[in-house]
Structures are given as structure tokens and as C-alpha cells.
Point group: C2
Chain length 409, copies 2
């Protein structure tokens, strides 16, 4: 008898047919004697529909009212799943974030969870109920409805698993686990049985869209066992995300190849190199609410240096304008160049901590294919390179093969 | 400077375009210095969409979960209206029924309001906000979401006006007031400037669908001034529903002609007339949750009487079966006859209290047109007759003319 928190995303509850499928799966766990708390997202498409409605009446919708609005998406899902379970003669009870209650701060549209009441859920579980909780939403100390931001249902699941000390938090999604890389790019990509939190963090932040970054951080912090599974297939083992490195067996050096083409790079050339210059360049960018990913500054020559960074591709034009108009004249840089036809490819693995030569092997493999590396950034467990967008898939394929990540047939 | 509670129904907020229109009207009141609390329904069609979804997963949806589900309709409306007001630079704040809070009993899908907190609303009004409250919904003492049943947004409006002691509760709808009868049947029908609560109750219960019966009772009980207005026309006076008869001027004898064709009549012939017979007949009907409207029993001959009543047309077959199978053999009645091709036409007016001859005038007018009267029922302020359905419109027209209700051109 175990205690599971199961989270089903928008695709998994995208129609009443699919909701009935989820109910059957939950009912099976329940009939085996397990205690189950289910977290659900809005039906796929619903959140976007609500946001579009809001924008029709207010071009920049008020965040408090936006949360009142979009939180209805999950509220519909919890009621439907609860009804679907009752139709299978399973006792079920739904709760909104306000009802649980999931207390958050008052940062509308991107609130953080502060505390979760357990009394109602524990009482309902002890009475034989499946408890269904709306993902993505909470309530602040003043009774205002809040939401956790996109993908926040994962965070709700992990937070509930942490608060209730569940045995496992199972994230049901449209893939059956975490892969060494995207199988659409590399058909030989292999499902990982387990991956560490650190690796998952790098994979998630680098473009594997399976799990929301924040929920992984959260799970790591509270030592919640996370498992990614498919809601469409029967009973696969999925991928377990562990908070301990696997010590029983030889750790593979590399776990996976992550990539994304959502970025653009900007380089400020001939910057006078003195203290505070990085802040002078990036301060105005941050003030415009533009997130910066990679930042690279090399050693200077003649007190001049080149400063490069990447931003989301959607922010490229805006960022170029800010740099050219507000910063370049001010700091006396020689020129500003940039491009949005780039891709970032990363090799990730906790094993590289103890293995030298991963980076050089990566560079060699890319060079053999004639792929020029435009930028390089490293952390303890990953090496990222920026390459021309058109070489991205080739780079992923050759790296996947070179590091031996292929499916063992 | 006045304090208004304004209620806008589903048609009035049926699109973002219409919501912006409502916002403009509310903003105008606000700019004139009035305090405004707005109650809104779900966008038209939304409640039905949600109910249909629920029925796809559970044939007879659980009432608690149904309320979780359908209450999202108004929640979307309040957020949209609040945003639309902010887009006009009007300070606005929305509340769900749980947030206000509108405390109800736990009778899911048909809850009754027990109490309304005023603190948040008063504080927001005093800070210059328009306050927007979700109609139709509340919360029980355990924190469960409840709904008041169909049309319950009117009740929310009246209850808020009563609790907050508003000067007037304005019900905005798709007609510009209460008419002497349905203008689609009698083009000369005239809008009434005022009508008493008693008359409105008779009009509402007899088929004028403008106001929900329960909200009128509620307004009468708490002495809330109700006004019915159009949300599509600019600034008509609408119809004021007063709790006092107008004493300044000569009271018109008749205020309006109500009608409906939703009923069917059933007559049990040759019933042995002894105490308890009415209960023996209607008890099993009530047990089947069938509402009975008119009930007529005339004096008996040879200890036998005929007992007639009307039910909703949808319940006709079911009722006939109950009477024929469970009751007729049991009480030894001679026969059971019935028909669902009938219509009820009623003449309503507080003035008839002091005027004899209204009923006889009504019967004479109908006789002159060759319309046979099948059943008659009277109250202090109305006379209802049941006629063949095919004569309904003719009956309404000739009565409307005979009682001088036409538009003064």
C-alpha cells in the first residue's frame, strides 16, 4: 500500500473521453489499496482560450483578474475527473487551490507556494476518497485567487507530495519518460530509467519540455521522488528522477543531449573593460523584463573586450534596440552585432564531473562534421555550445552517437 | 449620489463586445459619483456547455461537483468585466461568491442564501472601486462551492442590495421593462412604469420570464426597490417594481395579461368525495417530484366529484401513468382524462381587489369570441382561465384590448 500524488497535464485531460481514461487509471490504483491524490491541469487549449478572451477586453490584462479567470480552467477539470471517478463507483472529492488551501504569496500570475493545509485531504483519504486538487492555483492571505504561472500544475503536484509526504509524485504526460534526446530528432534516442535531479534541471532548462524547471527544483529541495510516465500507455515504468546518484552501478558519463532554437545572440564589440560594465549592459535589458541565458565575456585586449549574451528569440529585436540606443553610445562600444538563426546544443551528465575530456570530445565531434561553434558555456554537469541553427539536428545526432546514448537493440 | 446594485444577465455579457458595453454603462454611473456593485451571470451558453460536459462523464452528475463546475461560468464573467472597466480607467475588483462571502446552506445546485459579508465590498466602494460579484453562487459553512439554481443571479443581486441597503437593485436584461403582455403576441403591449410586487409575482409565475420568481419574493421580503431595464438601449426608465401600491394616482384596475402554454390538465372523474381524497390523488404526484399548478375541485353530486389539476407539459405522460396505475383503481374513480393542448391566460392587477366584475368581464369577452373556458382559478389579484391552446393568442389580444392596456399613441 503506497501513497501517490499523480499529476495529469492538459493533454491527458484534453477531452471527456481522456478524462474517463484518467479516471480508470486512478480507479485501478485505488482498487489496489493505494491512497491517491490527483492534481489536474486545465483541459488543453482552455487556458489559451481564456487568455485570448481577457485580451479582447484589456490589452494588458490586470494580473489579479487574470488569475480569477484562468483558474477556472482547472476548476472545470477537477469537477469532471471527480464525476468520472464517481461514475466508476469510486468515492472522490475535488478541491480548488483556495479550498485546500494552497497558500501563496500575492504575486499574481507567478505566485509561490508558502504552505498547504493537509487536514481536509488527510480526512478525505482516510474516508476512502480519491482527492482531486486543481493544479496551478492557490490563494493568498487576503483570499485572492493566485496562479503559479505556466506549467505550475507540476509544482502543485510536487508541493502536495512534499507536504503530505507521499511515497512518489507521478507526473503523467504525453511521453513515457525522459529520453537521451528528442526522439523526433534522433530516432535511436533511449528512455532513461533514472536521472538525477541535477541532470534533469539541466535537461529541463535546456529545452526538454517534459517537466517544468521549477517543479524539479522544488522536488529536489524537498526530496520528493518524481516519476515521469505516459498517461496514454499502460503501466510503463517511466523515468524516476532521483535525488541520489546511482551508486550501485557504473554511472554513465553522459545522460542526454538537450537543445533549443528559441534563442538569439547579441555581441557588444569593443567594450572598454572596467568594473561594472556587465551591469551597465545587462541592467537596462533586465529592466525591460528580458531574460538573459548565456553570458560570455572573454579576456580583454588593449582594455577592450567583447561581451556576448543570448536572449529568447522573441526578445531579439527589442534587445538590439535597447543595446544600440541606450547602451552603445553611453559606454562607447565599437559595434553591436547579433543573430537569431542560432541553436544551443548541450551535453548533460553528472558523470562528467569525474571524467575529463567531455568538452574536448564534443568539440572534436562537431569539428569533424564541419560545424562551427559560436559560443561555449559550461557548468559542472553540462557543456553548451551555440551553433548555426541549420546544423542543430546534425549536431544532436552525431553527439548522441559519439557518446553512446543509442538504444540497445 | 446613489448606491446601485446592477445585475446583468447572460445575454448582456454574451460576448466580449457586450461586456465592453456593460463596462461603459457602469463607468457612466461611476463617473456620475454613484456607488455601483455589479452582479453578473455566466456568458450566455456557457452554463449549458458546462452541464453538457458534466453529463458526458457522469449521466447524473454529482451535485457538489456540478456546482464546482458551473460556478466557473460567472467567475470568467466577473474577471472580464473587471478588466473591461480597468481598460476604461475605472478602478474595479471582482469577487466570487466564496470570496465575498455569500454564505448559503449546503443544498448543492439549489442553495439558499443565509448571510452576506459586507466588509470587503464596503471597503472597496469607499476606495472608489466598482465591485463586481459573481451571481448565482455562494459557499457553505464547510467551504464548499454552492449555486443557487437557474436564474439565481437575480437573487444574488437582490440579496446584495438588501444586505448593503442599496437605493435600488437594477436588473438589466434584453427587454426594456415589464409589459402589459408579450409584445410578440400583442404589438400594442405597453411598458409599465411601475408594477407592485404582488402583481409581478403573479406575472412572473404565470409566464413572464423577465424576472426569476424567487428574486421577486426576496425583494418583496426585504423591501428592495427593483427596476427592470434594457442593457441594450440607452437610459430608458424601465419598470420599477414597488413594494407599495401607488397612492398618488388612480390605480389601473388591470396591469397585465400573462399566459403560458407549458401546462397540461388532468381530470379524475367520479371521485368518491370524502376527506383526504385530494391528498390521495396528489400525494403520489408530489412524491414523483412533479409540481402541480392549478388545482380545482367542485361541489359533489351523489357523493361523487371531479378533481382537476395542471402540471408542466413535460410531466403529462408520467402523471397520467401515475394516476391511472396507482390512484384510479385505489380510490375507485370512474375515469381519468387529460390533455396537453391547453394554455393558461391570466388577468393580473392589484386594482381588481376593489373592483367587482373583472372576472365576469373576462368571461364575457372570451365568450364573445367563442372561446370555451375549460378551467378557472382565481386569487385576490388575478383570474386565470385554461383554454384550448389554439385560442391562446386570440384570448390575450382581446383581453388586452378590452381592459384598455394598449399603448397610448
Amino acid at each position: 500500500m503506497a501513497f501517490y500524488v499523480q499529476k495529469y497535464g492538459g493533454t491527458s485531460v484534453g477531452s471527456t473521453e481522456r478524462i474517463r481514461n484518467v479516471a480508470r487509471r486512478v480507479a485501478r490504483f485505488h482498487s489496489q489499496g493505494h491512497q491517491v491524490v490527483v492534481v489536474v491541469s486545465a483541459m488543453s487549449g482552455e487556458t489559451n482560450r481564456l487568455i485570448a478572451l481577457a485580451r479582447e477586453v484589456q490589452s494588458n490584462p490586470d494580473p489579479r483578474e487574470m488569475d480569477v479567470m484562468v483558474s477556472t480552467g482547472e476548476q472545470v477539470s477537477i469537477a469532471l475527473l471527480s464525476m468520472a471517478l464517481m461514475a466508476l463507483n469510486v468515492k472522490a472529492k475535488s478541491y480548488t487551490g483556495s479550498q485546500v488551501k494552497i497558500l501563496t504569496d500575492s504575486a499574481f500570475t507567478k505566485a509561490r507556494i508558502l504552505n498547504i493545509d493537509q487536514d481536509k485531504i488527510r480526512a478525505d483519504l482516510n474516508n476512502g476518497n480519491v482527492v482531486i486538487v486543481a493544479g496551478f492555483q492557490g490563494v493568498d492571505q487576503y483570499g485572492n485567487i493566485t496562479t503559479l504561472g505556466r506549467g505550475g500544475s507540476d509544482t502543485t503536484g510536487v508541493a502536495l507530495a512534499a507536504a503530505l509526504k507521499a511515497d512518489e509524485c507521478q507526473i503523467y504526460t504525453d511521453v513515457d519518460g525522459i529520453y537521451t534526446t528528442d526522439p523526433r530528432v534522433v530516432p535511436e534516442a533511449r528512455r532513461l530509467d533514472r536521472i538525477t535531479f541535477e541532470e534533469m534541471l539541466e535537461m529541463a532548462s535546456l529545452g526538454s519540455k517534459v517537466l517544468q524547471l521549477r517543479s524539479v527544483e522544488f522536488a529536489g529541495k524537498y526530496k520528493v521522488k518524481l516519476r515521469v510516465l505516459s498517461s496514454f500507455e499502460e503501466e510503463g515504468p517511466g523515468t524516476l528522477i532521483t535525488f541520489e546518484e546511482n551508486e550501485q552501478m557504473e554511472q554513465p558519463v553522459i545522460s542526454g543531449i538537450a537543445f533549443n532554437r528559441d534563442e538569439a545572440k547579441i555581441t557588444v564589440l569593443g567594450v572598454p573593460d572596467h568594473p561594472g560594465i556587465a551591469y551597465q549592459i545587462l541592467g537596462p535589458v533586465a529592466d525591460a523584463n528580458i531574460d538573459v541565458d548565456m553570458i560570455i565575456q572573454n579576456v580583454s585586449h588593449d582594455d577592450l573586450t567583447d561581451f556576448s549574451f543570448t536572449v529568447h528569440r522573441n526578445d531579439f529585436n527589442n534587445t538590439m534596440n535597447i543595446i544600440r540606443e541606450k547602451i552603445q553610445p553611453h559606454i562607447g562600444a565599437r559595434d553591436v552585432i547579433g543573430g537569431d538563426r542560432i541553436a544551443k546544443v548541450s551535453v548533460v551528465g553528472v558523470g562528467m564531473r569525474s571524467h575529463a575530456g567531455i568538452a574536448s570530445k564534443m568539440f572534436r565531434v562537431l569539428a569533424e562534421e564541419g560545424i562551427n561553434i559560436q559560443m561555449i558555456a559550461t557548468s559542472e554537469i553540462k557543456v553548451s555550445v551555440v551553433v548555426d541553427e541549420k546544423y542543430m539536428e546534425l549536431a544532436v545526432r552525431v553527439l548522441h552517437k559519439a557518446f553512446g546514448l543509442e538504444q540497445v537493440l
